[in-house]
């Protein structure tokens, strides 16, 4: 299946939809199609039902977190540099807001073709992290969208039963985000890693000291960052 023909077919079928081809430089050659949230359901229904397409199996749904980028900013700045001014770099640190992306891998059982990769992005990673749910189109997205809601924090509008899937209901953060910092107050099994245990206890007492503060997990971000690297072998 050629993605270009699919794109034109979809554009003809769903007037007003904005589709964008996203090239994949990898040898896998699985290029993807970015669709806009407003027409997502219509596009999905067309993909599922159009006789030439019949993508009836939505195999894989997953989220990707793209936090605001700073490193790429610097690259852009270097391109801008035409003189020898060094101060400009520091001034031009406008970070892009970042987004959460949801990827759908579609296959066709009837026509045995695929995959076609659909992508949708949220406007930002906080308040506007809303996307339309494709569960009404493909039931297989039900649990996977719940998982994305749980682990990434994308709110799927129109999902029949949007609850946390893997984390418990009282959990506040979204663990799969790149900037997620694990809280230090899990009940660790006492192992030889007593350093971790010591920090956990210390953290507990600190948390008890300033009970009303809500962002307990985030305070220790500095010490947490290197937990994985120094946790072992002690």
């Amino acid at each position: 299946m050629n993605l270009e023909t699919i794109k034109s077919e979809l554009e003809a079928a769903v007037p007003g939809c904005r589709l964008e081809l996203v090239a994949n430089p990898s040898p896998s050659g699985q290029h993807s199609l970015r669709i806009d949230a407003a027409h997502a359901v219509a596009v999905a229904v067309c993909l599922r039902d159009a006789p030439g397409l019949r993508f009836d199996l939505c195999s894989n749904v997953t989220g990707i977190d793209w936090p605001g980028k700073q490193t790429t900013e610097k690259v852009k700045l270097r391109k801008l540099v035409d003189g020898t001014q060094q101060e400009v770099e520091e001034l031009r640190t406008t970070t892009t807001p970042g987004s959460l992306e949801v990827v759908y891998h579609l296959f066709s059982i009837e026509k045995k073709h695929g995959p076609i990769v659909l992508r949708m992005s949220t406007q930002d990673r906080d308040a506007n992290a809303h996307l339309p749910s494709l569960t009404p189109v493909w039931r297989s997205a039900e649990l996977q969208e719940r998982e994305i809601f749980d682990l990434f924090g994308v709110v799927f509008d129109g999902h029949p039963d949007l609850r946390r899937l893997l984390m418990w209901d009282e959990f506040v953060d979204h663990p799969m985000r790149r900037d997620y910092v694990g809280p230090d107050d899990y009940e660790y099994e006492p192992t030889a890693h007593d350093e971790v245990l010591r920090r956990a206890n210390q953290h507990l007492s600190e948390a008890a000291a300033k009970l009303p503060s809500e962002a307990v997990g985030n305070q220790q971000s500095e010490t947490d960052g290197n937990r994985l690297s120094e946790g072992g072998g002690r």
């Binding site: 430089p25 040898p27 297989s140 039900e142 946390r164 663990p175 994985l228």
Partner: protein, 386 residues
Amino acid sequence: MITDASPAAQPELEPLSETSEEQLLEIAMGPQHPSTHGVFRMNVVLDGEHVVRLKPVFGYLHRNHEKIAESETYLGSMPYTDRLDYMCPITNNWAYALAVEKLAGIQVPERAEYLRVIVGELTRLQNHACLIGFLMQDMGSSGTPLMYAFREREKILDLFESLTGARMMCNYMRFGGCRVDMPAGWLEQAQNVVREFPRFLDEYENLLVSNEILMERTQGVGVLSKELAINAGMSGPMARASGVNYDIRKVDKYSIYERFAFRVPLGAHGDVYDRYMIRFLEMRESLKILNEAMRDIPAGPIVDPKMRIRGFRPKPGEAYGRIESPKGELGFYLISNGSLNPYRYRVRPPSLINLTVLEDLCIGQNVADVVAILGSVDIVLGEVDR
């Protein structure tokens, strides 16, 4: 009573809701329950013994495998994939290796492909045998079929041990091939196991297939329509039992599966009986593949010589690789940003997605059927919760 759950309509609760809410009994099946196949929980609302509502609760075994993998090297995630579906670690390895190979464009030598097929199909044999055993165990046959299955699985695990060094956590595949070649005499041993296996299947068939109690317990129970099966993304034996002709070995022709003559059995009813019979028949087909593969396996290298074990950095890009694991479509979705570890690593767990329809299958059935239905879905919690 089977509710005809079409994808659009929610399962109909009307007939049973004549009893008032107060008379309903809500029980938590799990997380400590002998037949939830691990720490899985179903909040079941019962009217007498009939299921009115069923809400699965996941996450008791959640360890955020994906997050861990994103901070590991590509190879470092390989042993972790063993622990996803711990009944069939080798196919997990395979799916992951396949995804990475797609991502980096690695070729796999001929011999390695044959080795992969052999161990993959052996995995399928032992998984299906055990699953049927577990299903019977759930239906109360005091473990006899399960023990027979374990007896055979033992032989296959012995093969795995002498090949890969571990019985279950094999960590066998490498990007571009396999880790070790088979030791001397392994092939004969494996051929012997494969030759003996039909005897066990006959035994199983005598014990189970025409058993009236079993037929009564399983036929017409937990019926999954073809439409719902497709729409809800069912895969593997679960989908094929509902008559969906979709076997990734045939569709994707990954590895060297197109070289083997094997057939894909399809069910007509989509009930529990079909689901376990499909697995029966698949075992016979797997034996055919194994026989052919063991006959034809060529000599040669087992791993792409260009692959380095350390410092593996695929070029930026993404890939979705999937295989037909014994449980269904096991996919890995990887995004590389050119660094040592994947930017995004996603497992498409067949067990979890096959559970999407659990409530639809169970509504209106008995408590005893819930157990059988759950058993026929074939889940491993290591994969469901990841």
